[in-house]
Symmetry: C2
Subunit: 407 residues, 2 copies
């Protein structure tokens, strides 16, 4: 027999996750994972599934009946939207202002769609005027796909404006909300978005590996009206998935990831208890404190103020400072994970995430303190202590305001 080498139980080091995801899980979510698994057709499990759909509708601000978690990471949610909605020959406008727009394009091509690419500088939001021009030039466009919150840059696009334009020109929309859901307003019904997907491990701070999705009645109608053969993926075929997650029946499709679903239920419950608007305000408040500190250190944001995601802060790496050394020092000496740049931004930016449970005052102060020290050691000239002082200032103003409101 082939023998494996000596291996022992795995115990991860304690990190503070301040990159583009995963984010730290709330202890309640971690505890929820550690329950026995039960059958995926158990009445108790089915009740939990119904609650999960209800909680997801709240998070997405939608009444879409078809709102449920796909049993895979965000890329499965993305691919599910494309393989179901795009038939061979369908023209799809893909807005690409970062890595994930590029991945959408890959999906369109693999579905046999005809892509029309709206390219935007990385770090910029998608320009609605460019979309309108493309829609006018391509009146046969069936679908417009864009990323609400680009995880690779920290830029937020105007989902309402983009969805309005698509609808005006008779196209459906596929919207990537992986990094936005729970951290910044996602309003599926107000936008009248048609297919949206997210990930469990960003601002929901759940275990990675699930992708909450929601589909409008228009999207379902297009899936049901497919005329060019079956959805190419058996696993992601909504016609089949619906039989398990739909309203009326509970037919076995695939084995549901029980423990991860328990955890998502708890994450969404925490979001409901806090209240969406409070969660958005918390992300904004911690972003502002971090920004005060980073700017006091002389660091510059990649994204212009009007399009910045509070949960994902991308800044230019100062000249002469080695990217990898800083990230390694933060990880090894401070147990802090931050994000690197991707693609054309590799080695040029850092991405500081303050997502979900990671978006907390203590993390902002810790990050500023550690980053200031590490940069100082590397010879970067800045006023030691200024960053933390600026953040404390931002928090003080908030705390004073909150106290005034209470009294």
């Amino acid at each position: 027999m082939t023998q494996a080498k000596r291996i022992t139980s795995f115990h991860p080091p304690r990190r503070t996750l301040l990159g583009p995801g995963p984010s730290d899980m709330n202890p309640r979510v971690i505890a929820t994972l550690a329950q026995p698994v039960i059958g995926y057709l158990d009445p108790a499990f089915v009740t939990m599934m119904e609650e999960l759909k209800e909680l997801m509708r709240y998070a997405y601000q939608t009444t879409n009946p078809l709102t449920f978690p796909m049993s895979g990471p965000g890329s499965v949610g993305m691919e599910a939207c494309f393989v179901n909605l795009v038939e061979p020959g369908d023209k799809v406008i893909v807005c690409r202002n970062g890595v994930f727009g590029g991945r959408m394009l890959e999906n369109v091509e693999r579905c046999g769609g005809v892509p029309v690419v709206l390219d935007e500088t990385w770090g910029e939001p998608v320009d609605p005027e460019k979309l309108e021009a493309l829609l006018k030039a391509n009146p046969d466009t069936k679908i417009v796909a864009f990323v609400h919150a680009e995880t690779s840059t920290g830029a937020q696009s105007d989902a309402q404006a983009l969805c309005d334009l698509a609808r005006k020109h008779g196209a459906l929309t596929i919207v990537d909300c992986v990094t936005s859901l729970g951290g910044t307003p996602v309003q599926v019904d107000a936008w009248q978005a048609d297919a949206v997907y997210s990930g469990s491990q960003k601002c929901l701070s759940c275990t990675p590996g699930l992708s909450p999705v929601s589909f409008s009645e228009r999207a379902i109608a297009k899936v049901k009206a497919r005329s060019k053969g079956k959805v190419q993926s058996w696993f992601m075929d909504l016609n089949l998935v619906l039989a398990y997650w739909g309203e009326t029946s509970r037919t076995y499709h695939h084995t549901a990831p029980g423990n991860s679903l328990y955890a998502l239920h708890e994450s969404l419950l925490l979001l409901q208890e806090e209240g969406l608007e409070n969660a958005w305000a918390r992300h904004q408040r911690n972003h502002e404190a971090l920004k005060s500190g980073l700017e006091a250190m002389g660091l510059q944001y990649l994204v212009k103020a009007s399009a910045r995601l509070p949960q994902l802060n991308s800044v230019h790496i100062p000249e002469g400072i080695d990217d990898l050394t800083v990230r390694k020092t933060l990880l090894n000496d401070y147990n802090i994970e931050i994000g690197a740049g991707l693609g054309p931004l590799a080695g040029k930016i850092w991405r500081f995430g303050l997502m979900g449970y990671s978006s907390r005052q203590e993390n902002v102060l810790l990050l500023l303190s550690a980053l200031s020290a590490v940069l100082g050691e590397m010879g970067y000239k800045h006023d030691a202590g200024a960053a933390e002082a600026a953040a404390h200032g931002a928090y003080s103003a908030h705390h004073a305001l909150a106290a005034k409101k209470k009294s």
Copy 2:
């Protein structure tokens, strides 16, 4: 704002899982889930990934470098094998002797393959002679696909014989080992199987949602030599997944399901500690005790003795006994989950699983005791106590033998 109704934290009822999966998790696996998540490129995580691959190679008895867990349930492992290996126009022989052979056929069709179906009565193993005849009649066959352990019936096919025939005729093999891995011998190298997949929640008794896969060099060569365009699934494209799970590089592909992977690491470690041969012997021993009891109750197996899976016992429902009433009573009054029949076997069989951590003496005795009582209440005539007595007899013989070996 849309408000969600009042929902509280989810706590599953305590069940004993004796159906076709998921099976009960070992407490060590449950505890392992409940650790903080870390980044998917964290050096500590990468070390864990390497150990995971090593442990999976031991479980599969293979030296295949490309042996890793897909980030989705067994159906993702299945689909990954087909979308990577089957190009449009490829002739694929699909052996269908249950639900999962049928799902393989769905996959071939959705990949644009040309299927040739070998149909076998449900409950029978695949007949190697029929395969040989089909291979001779179809010399252009590129792939032979079959299910080693049919979860819908409990029948085991002779993987060695089927793989040998395929290889002799120049075809690659795709083998479903979802229910067999860890419970009955799976010998990927000895079989010279080309693409195998399994699930985390059967005889590995891990959290559901992962699919261990392994690919031979021949399989990888076919994927790399594809001439008719990219793999239709971005998420499952081995060329991309390899960049994250491969030997040399760690390029971001999708966010790995961290906690579930920790749990799989622990499940496979438990298997290594017990030893594969001991685990197989344990499954066999508990199967024999259960069989003694079921037969003492007068119940008949669906599958002939030579093809029975020890971990999945399918028996005919006695005439006049209502399927659903029995399953509901076992669940509600005894907290025991057993499996129903699927497709043409719905309402005709029960499936008793003794998989992984669920394969224990106390579960066999509990199941026989509960089933005997429930059937008795429903007027089924049998000798009360005979089932348990028979099982005790089987265990006593084993314990006596074990004691003799020790002395």
